[in-house]
């Protein structure tokens, strides 16, 4: 049987930027191939080139670009339109924005059927991807559906015209870990049914279970390929090694028992919005120099707890103390002297920095001498006069850390601080945070949906679900012997390389 997709020496350039630099690969029918790499590696551009959507201004050159036995290099727009949806369906990241928010999902799926003049029923297709009550759901809009259901609807629209190939570009990145596991299950089903899959991801663990072969991309080139198991056993390229390290749950090397004394304490915290309770009976204590992990899926109430700690949300019930004094229920002027002791590192520093401020001014706002703090986080003087958008994601997060540690805080709340970073940068930032705790004795409240990250860094972990803490304990104990059913489900859903081992 001939390959479904055959690519030889593919180059994609945007002006002066070489996004893809001479890659070759083939996808056989019924196979699942994954392309893994960090942002800017050229993996998404490669996927989109296969449907002729490399983007405006893209120049595509290849020794061979064969789709379904036809040479696609000379394809006119008409030919590409037949390929799109007919030969290959494309599933993008977040269905909230990847489906037209102004149209019902039924209309979106129906559009594919009409365009390719195939018989098919929207309701049937929704049922095929296990959307419950498909008749009702077909009339709904993306914002009315949960993340998982939206993603299923997006997949239904991609496979509506029965294309032999399904290209999924980060199909689960925007989803919670348990939902991610179910979507991956659905993709596995589609593969069982004989469909060919091309998965694109930044996370090796996500694709490990499904992929027959993994191509590792970096800087527009394929640096290594093989099964996930092979890569785990003997990665040769340093980047692949980083990917493998990031994908495996890495237990911490040494546990240093933090010093005594309490920095912040939340007692019986409850928050209601009208009749809706977003957090209830939350008890949380952070000792000096301790790293506490707070795990939960979206909507679990972990952000509400963080906001309460910052005094942005007044508790409906319960009380919060910080630095040996009441923190909730007191006027802001009594909190202000202690504000410097409490700092925040957010997921996306770009939006928490004033875009018109230089790094000098951003860090200088917290301290008169920004340079020593920048040097502590591994930056040099040449970033001082740059603007946030001129920095890479990792550099920005380092600036955010420098700004947070400058006032010598006793507690830093880290809200998903590495979720937006590539794996190679993630490890460095986590190392930096661990170092700051060790040297300054700063306590960290580390909020994340990523269990591997929590396990790597935290001393103690709290698991939240539906606004309540369902489990709490030392990291080693919770990960080794979870007591609550939900914690077990979370741990089971987290993708690991172990399942892919042969």
């Amino acid at each position: 049987m001939s390959a479904l997709v055959e690519v030889e020496d593919l180059h994609v350039t945007f002006g002066d930027v070489q996004a893809v630099r001479g890659i070759s690969f083939a996808v056989e029918p019924g196979e699942c191939v994954a392309i893994v790499g960090e942002s800017g590696s050229g993996k998404s551009v490669t996927a989109r080139t296969l449907v002729g959507l490399a983007g405006p201004g893209a120049e595509v050159r290849a020794a061979a670009l064969t789709l379904d036995g036809r040479d696609a290099r000379g394809f006119a727009e008409r030919d590409w339109r037949r390929v799109r949806g007919g030969f290959a369906g494309l599933v993008l990241q977040d269905a909230l924005v990847s489906l037209d928010p102004l149209r019902s999902i039924g209309a979106e799926i129906g559009e594919v059927l009409r365009e390719h003049q195939v018989d098919g029923e929207v309701v049937r297709l929704l049922a095929d991807v296990h959307v419950p009550e498909p008749e009702r759901r077909a009339k709904q809009y993306p914002h009315q559906l949960s993340g998982g259901l939206r993603q299923r609807a997006l997949i239904a629209s991609a496979i509506a015209a029965s294309p032999p190939l399904l290209i999924a570009d980060e199909p689960t990145t925007a989803l919670d870990v348990t939902v991610q596991a179910r979507i991956l299950g659905l993709l596995g089903e589609l593969k069982e049914a004989g469909r060919t899959l091309l998965l694109i991801s930044h996370d090796l663990a996500v694709v490990a279970k499904l992929a027959d072969r993994v191509l590792v991309m970096k800087d527009g080139q394929i640096v290594e390929s093989g099964t996930a198991g092979m890569l785990r056993a003997g990665a040769r390229h340093p980047y692949t090694k980083q990917l493998v390290a990031a994908a495996e749950l890495h237990p911490r090397a040494a546990t240093k028992r933090p010093s005594t004394g309490v920095v912040a304490e939340v007692r019986g915290f409850r928050k209601d919005y009208g009749r809706h309770t977003v957090a209830r009976d939350v008890d949380l204590t952070v000792h000096r120099g301790e790293i506490v992990g707070l795990v939960g899926e979206s909507g679990s109430g972990k952000t509400t707890v963080a906001h309460a700690l910052f005094g942005l949300v007044e508790p409906t019930a319960g009380e919060i103390t910080f630095e040996d004094g009441p923190w909730s229920g007191v006027p802001e002027r009594r909190r202000r002297p202690r504000r410097r002791k409490l700092q925040l590192i957010s997921q996306d520093p770009l939006s928490s920095f004033d875009p018109r401020w230089t790094v000098r001014r951003i860090v200088g706002e917290a301290t008169g001498t920004p340079l020593p703090f920048l040097e502590r986080v591994g930056l040099t003087a040449d970033v001082l006069d740059r603007y946030p958008r001129q920095l890479s994601g990792g550099q920005r997060q380092r600036v955010a850390i420098a700004r947070a540690i400058a006032p010598r805080p006793s507690l830093i709340v880290c809200d998903e601080p590495v979720s937006a970073l590539d794996v190679s940068v993630q490890a460095q930032v986590l190392g930096l945070l661990a170092g700051i705790r060790a040297e300054d004795g700063t306590a960290l409240l580390f909020i994340s949906h990523d269990l591997a990250v929590i396990r790597h860094l935290a001393d103690r972990v709290l698991v939240m679900k539906d606004g309540a803490v369902v489990e709490e304990g030392p990291v080693e104990r919770v990960f080794a012997a979870p007591e609550h059913e939900y914690t077990r489900a979370l741990l089971a859903a987290a993708p690991t390389l172990e399942v892919a081992a042969p």
Binding site: R48, V51, L53, E77, R81, R82, V83, R84, G85, G86, A88, G89, L90, L92, Q93, D94, V97, S98, L99, D100, P101, L102, R103, S104, E111, V112, E115, H116, Y141, H143, Q144, L154, S157, A158, A161
Partner: protein, 303 residues
Amino acid sequence: MRAVLRRAGSGLIVLWAAATAAYLALLAAPGDTVDSIIGDGADTPLIRSQIIQEWGLDRPAVVQYLDYLWRAAHGDLGRSYLLQRPVRDVIGEQLTPTLELAVAAAALGVLIALVLAVTTRRAWARRTSSTTELVLVSTPPFLIGIVLLSVFSFRFGWFPVSGDRGVAALILPAVTLALPIAGVLTQVLRDGLDRALSEPFAVTARSRGLAENAVLIRHALRHALLPAVTLTGWLFGVLLGGAVIVEQVFGRPGLGQVTLAAVNSKDMPVVLAVVVLSAFVYVLINTLADVVYLAIDPRLRRS
């Protein structure tokens, strides 16, 4: 249902505020009401006292104000000082030509904007159109009117120079008012289309095999309409202000002419009526815009 009531309630408050503000302005304006009513007529103490008697001007200001509100609520807008006729009749007969002009101009402006925004996607067409739009937006409407008049009426004689007889007389005034509207709307729509086409859902739509035009019309255009709808309040202002000028330039009868005459001769009942009418139309148009929003964007509807 509650939203509709709240909407109607706030509309009423706007109307009341407009009527009151206009009334206060009238009180504060220099000059005696009796002088305005007499105008160029005979002026004797007897006539003056008769006028005060007839118009009830000797009552306390608060009573006069309440009486005015009470009557306005019943649709009685008083009598014109100048024309000695009920304001309702004066406005009523001048409303139709202005309404024709406004509706024709708004429809034409929106149509031109839609066609231009959708058809000028190529780089060169876009540059040409964009420059033209800027020129149109920055040209005062009376100048556009005069240019159109001198070319199409005086030079070619295709359209009548003035009056409001037939469709032919409506074309040039409507075009004059429509061009600046089309200029701004095209820019807003084009910007909206650009934004929508760079969203992930546009990639998804293309990946289904849709032609670029289908992506544009079926997906992007609705997104581009949202910011355009926001401009309807501004559109109304342009139409109102433009009508006064355009009616003058083209010698058309209409509310613009009436307003101008009333302001010049301090014919306050007519000015008041025009203000209240404007406020009413403004409330109406904005309510309509809110309904259009709901029709376009399901995210704004409450489940």
